[in-house]
Amino acid sequence: MTGEVAVQQTEVLESASLNAEYHRIRVRAGAPASQARPGQFFQLLCPASPAGTPFLRRPMSVYGADPASGEVSFLFKVTGIGTRGLAGLVPGDRLDLLGPLGNGFTLEPGWRHIVALGRGAGLATLAPLGAAARARGMEVTAILSARRPSLMVADDAFRAAGARVIPVTDAEGTSGPAHVERLLRGMIADGRCDALFTCGSARLLEVVRRLAQGFGIPAMVALEQQMACGLGMCFCCVRSFRVDGQVLHRRVCYDGPVFDAREALE
C-alpha cells in the first residue's frame, strides 16, 4: 500500500441507476482521493436508509478518478444495506470516503497489449485500467462477462478509452470458461496478450491462473473480501495464497486488493 490516506467529506455530483442492478455515483473529492489509481479502493461510510444503518464502511473500487477536476466515481451493484443507502444518494448529499487504499494494478512499460477479463461488479474495478493502459500506448482487449446483455456495465468506459470490447453473456451462451479460454488462447497465439488482469469471477480466475502459469504470462487479480478497517489492522479480510508450496493468508486491503493471479487460491 502506498500514498497518503484521508477521511474526506465529499459532495455527490451525480447519482444514476444504470440498469436493474447497477448504480453509479460521482463525487467532488479533491486530493488525495482523486489521485487514486486503477485497482485502488475507498472505504465508504454508506448513509442509513430504510434498509438499515450500516455500521462498518463498505469497500468500493475506484471506477474513475480525475486529479484535474478532483472528481471520483464508483460503479456498484446494489446488494445489501450499504449499497442500497449509496444508491439513495442524490446530488448535493455528502459522502464520507476513506482512501485511497490498497495497491492498484501495475502496468510494466514493456507491455504492448494487455487483456482485461472480468465479470459482474468486477467490471467496475477493471474499468479504469482501460484508459490507463491506453495512455501508456498499450492496446487493450476487454472480455466482459455478464448474466445478460442488459446487465453489462463498464463496456462503455472501455470503448471510450479505445479498447476492443468482447462482451460475453450467460444468456447468449458465450460466457462459459471453455469459450473464454479459447478466446484467450487465440490472443496469446496472436501475441496480443502481454499481461492478464481479472476481477469478479472465481471461474475466470481459474482460467487466468492456468494460462498464466502455462504460458508464463504476468497476471493480476483484484480480490474482494469483507472489510472492517481497510488499513491492514484487523485481519478480517484475509484470503489464502499458495506461495512456494505453502498456504498463507494475506490481507486484501493492505497486501492487495491486486495480487499475482498465479498465487491466489480458489
Binding site: M1, F55, L98, Q226, G230, G232, M233, C236, H249, Y254
Partner: protein
C-alpha cells in the same frame, strides 16, 4: 493548553488515548500522525504461528460489530525483527499484547518480549486457559492470579492485565490481578455474542461465536470500569465503545486513568486524534488544568437509602 499527561504506574504517557489491541498496526501511519498517540498497543501475539479463525470474521450489529479474528500470529521472531523496530521510530511507548494457553506460556512469552523498545506488556488473559477446560483465565480469580503471578516473576516491565467483561462480578478478578502484581488493568475485552443470518440459518461468523465491540457495549464496560476502579488502587485503562471525546471523558469520570479506542478506528482512523483534541477542549471549557483530575470525578449524591432494585448494583 491542558496538561494531558497521565501516569500508568512508572510510565508517563503524553496523553491518555491509545489504540486497543487488534485494531491497530503499522497501517495506521497512513492516516494518522502516530506521534500524537499516548501509547501503541499491538495486536495480541502468541509464541506459535497461527492462521486465525475461519471466515467470515466480522459482522455488523446494532451500534456495534462482532468479530472472531482469532490470533493470526506471526510469532515472536517477526515481532522482534519487524514490529519493534518499526515503532521505535516514533515517540509513544510500545505496549506488547500477548496471549498463551498456560500461565507458564504467558511467562515465557513475556520474558522473550522484555527487550529494549518494549515499554510494557499487556497480558490478554481473556483467552482460553488450557489448564482450566478452555475457560478464559480472566473468568476466574484463581486462574487470573496464577497467570499474573507467573508473568510478574518473568518480567520487570510494567505489566498491564486485560480483563474479560464476560464475568458476573469483575471486582474480585480485578483485585486478584492487583494482588498478583499487575501494574494496571485494561477493562475490558469484547463481550461474547452471537448473530445468525435468518435467510441462510447460519451463524454470521465462521467461528459461530464472536466478541461484541463498539458503542453498543459502552454502558456495560463503563459500569465494569467503575466497579474495578473502586476495587483496586492501580490504574484502570477503560476500553469499550469509545468513539469521541465525550465517551473518553465518561470513562475517566467513572475512574479510568487512560482509555483505549478500538472499533471507532474502523469507521474513522483519525478518531483518536479527534478524541485527544476534544479532551483538551473539554478541559479548557471546564477549567480543568490536568486531564488526570477527571479520573473518578463522577459525582454521586448521598441519596435516601435506595430501594432494592430488580436490577441491582452488585458491587
Amino acid at each position: 493548553m491542558t496538561d494531558l499527561s497521565v501516569r500508568i504506574g512508572t510510565l508517563t504517557l503524553a496523553n491518555p488515548v491509545m489504540p486497543a489491541s487488534g485494531t491497530f498496526s503499522e497501517g495506521m501511519a497512513r492516516a494518522l500522525d502516530l506521534n500524537r498517540l499516548g501509547a501503541f498497543v499491538t495486536k495480541t501475539i502468541t509464541r506459535e504461528l497461527r492462521l486465525g479463525n475461519p471466515l467470515p470474521r466480522v459482522a455488523e450489529t446494532a451500534g456495534g460489530m462482532l468479530n472472531s479474528i482469532g490470533i493470526p500470529s506471526q510469532g515472536v521472531a517477526h515481532f522482534l525483527e519487524h514490529t519493534v523496530p518499526f515503532f521505535a521510530a516514533f515517540a509513544p511507548p510500545l505496549v506488547a499484547s500477548i496471549s498463551a494457553p498456560t500461565a507458564e506460556g504467558f511467562a515465557s512469552l513475556a520474558a522473550a518480549l522484555s527487550v529494549p523498545g518494549v515499554a510494557a506488556i499487556e497480558a490478554n488473559i481473556s483467552c482460553p486457559n488450557l489448564e482450566a477446560d478452555g475457560q478464559a483465565f480472566a473468568m476466574r480469580e484463581d486462574s487470573t492470579a496464577a497467570a499474573v503471578r507467573a508473568l510478574r516473576a518473568a518480567t520487570a516491565l510494567p505489566l498491564w492485565v486485560k480483563l474479560t467483561p464476560n464475568v458476573g462480578e469483575i471486582a474480585p478478578v480485578a483485585r486478584a490481578a492487583e494482588a498478583a502484581g499487575a501494574d494496571a488493568l485494561v477493562v475490558a475485552n469484547t463481550i461474547l455474542a452471537l448473530s445468525i443470518d435468518t435467510e441462510t440459518f447460519r451463524p454470521r461468523l465462521g467461528n459461530v461465536l464472536g466478541g461484541l465491540s463498539g458503542p453498543a457495549i459502552k454502558p456495560i464496560v463503563l459500569r465494569q470500569v467503575w466497579q474495578c476502579a473502586r476495587a483496586v488502587r492501580i490504574p484502570v485503562i477503560g476500553c469499550g465503545g469509545i468513539a469521541d471525546a465525550a465517551d473518553a471523558v465518561e470513562y475517566l469520570l467513572a475512574g479510568a486513568t487512560a482509555v483505549q479506542v478500538g472499533t471507532a478506528t474502523f469507521r474513522d482512523p483519525t478518531a483518536m486524534d479527534a478524541i485527544i483534541a476534544g479532551l483538551d477542549r473539554f478541559c479548557e471549557r471546564h477549567d480543568i488544568a490536568r486531564v488526570s483530575e477527571l479520573t473518578g470525578a463522577m459525582r454521586t449524591e448521598e441519596t435516601d437509602e435506595p430501594e432494592l432494585a430488580w436490577v441491582n448494583p452488585v458491587a
